[in-house]
Subunit: 238 residues, 2 copies
């Protein structure tokens, strides 16, 4: 993924700490621009990962440092009307990387990792969490979002709190997400680990107001379900 | 993926050439059962990849051969009301493998590969096509479908024919798939390569009756778009 770009002629996007009249970039981002053979005078887009985005001009550039001057602000585009959260159980191996990447493209404002009965709590460490956050940042750039969704340290399902609507995919449900989706408040979609949530876990969620919705009559892998649910939301135009 | 199973206590599914009173399996499938330590007398499910599915009993088993006796038939479940086709442009690297796997879980009846203006026609060979078909077969087993969707040799976009509805995801469209989806005829979803379909290609499709639909305001990778669109259909309960 890293450094993949869709042809030439497109404006490069650069993550900065904060938008400021003069922005000094360290080796990591400078190197990225340097490798792209940008020269002083080149136009780029800068964004702070919190929703602010603007044009900027490269003033100085070498492999270790870059200086950019701020240009016109560009409003945050491509965000859902209210924050969209993906709450996803810890998954084995590298599956969360794919989920975080697709979820970022599909517009989530954050990813909350969950420890559930059938999810292995040993499946995450500081290093892995930091890698997932880097993946979210790359995916955010690629999909030209102004926001980088944070991937949050796991909480137990019992401790997980949400505002607005929560949708949980549940085999056997016949409720359709699209008939209940309401952007007057934040929206969360929640999916389970390999082997699924237990019936008791789903019941605890619905007792707190979650809606269990269909994803069709087939069995989906734990890493497909979140992309399918978020796809259903994106296909509504959000 | 291969051989991944969701805990013990579940009935194993075995692909056979055809359902018959006595079915003799060769080394590949026999080895699979052997490794699972099944014994004569064990119950399995057999399916032919065409929609027929039945119970069966293991009568003989060693690493190279298995004999099964047919039990009760089980109707094909988990299929869409009319055939669902994914028409997807050739993608670079191994991305089609992920797309075929998820599309199979999400219920497609076949995958039609497409050569488009920005898709590299050298990106498929007999070996790769055969691997994609194996992936569809594995995914079909895992999602307990009775049908294995074939992955079909590429055709050019200009030559691609479809029956019923065709939906193509197009940035900037505000039409929603869910408001137009109609299962009185077959349904096809079509997605482009890295860099997308050209405007001309989309216009040619819509001139033939295709509907261009939204997948939200962000830019999706070529391998995310088909899963998102098929997810939107699955979330309607099909």
């Amino acid at each position: 993924m890293s450094g993949e770009d869709r042809g030439s002629g497109q404006v490069r996007r650069v993550r900065v700490e904060a938008l400021a009249p003069e922005m000094v970039l360290g080796p990591r981002e400078a190197r990225h621009l340097y490798v792209l053979r940008l020269s002083p005078g080149a136009e780029v887009l800068v964004f702070d990962g919190q929703g602010a985005q603007a044009q900027a001009t490269v003033v100085e550039l070498d492999a270790a440092r870059a200086i950019l001057h701020l240009g016109e602000s560009i409003g945050a585009a491509a965000e859902t009307p209210q924050p969209l959260t993906l709450a996803v159980a810890l998954l084995k191996g590298d599956k969360l990387a794919d989920v975080v990447r697709a979820a970022t493209e599909l517009g989530v404002a954050r990813v909350q990792l969950l420890v559930t009965r059938r999810a292995d709590a040993r499946e995450i460490g500081a290093q892995k969490l930091s890698r997932l956050n880097r993946i979210a940042e790359e995916a955010s750039k690629q999909s030209r979002r102004a926001v980088t969704p944070p991937v949050l340290n796991p909480v137990t399902l019992a401790d997980f709190q949400w505002e607005g609507q929560l949708f949980v995919a549940q085999p056997g449900s016949s409720l359709r997400l699209t008939q209940h989706l309401d952007w007057s408040a934040p929206v969360t979609v929640l999916t389970g680990p390999e082997g699924g949530l237990t019936t008791e876990e789903v019941n605890q969620l619905t007792a707190k107001g979650a809606l269990s919705v269909t994803l069709g009559p087939r069995i989906l892998r734990a890493e497909t379900a979140p992309v399918a649910l978020l796809g259903a939301i994106a296909a509504q135009g959000q």
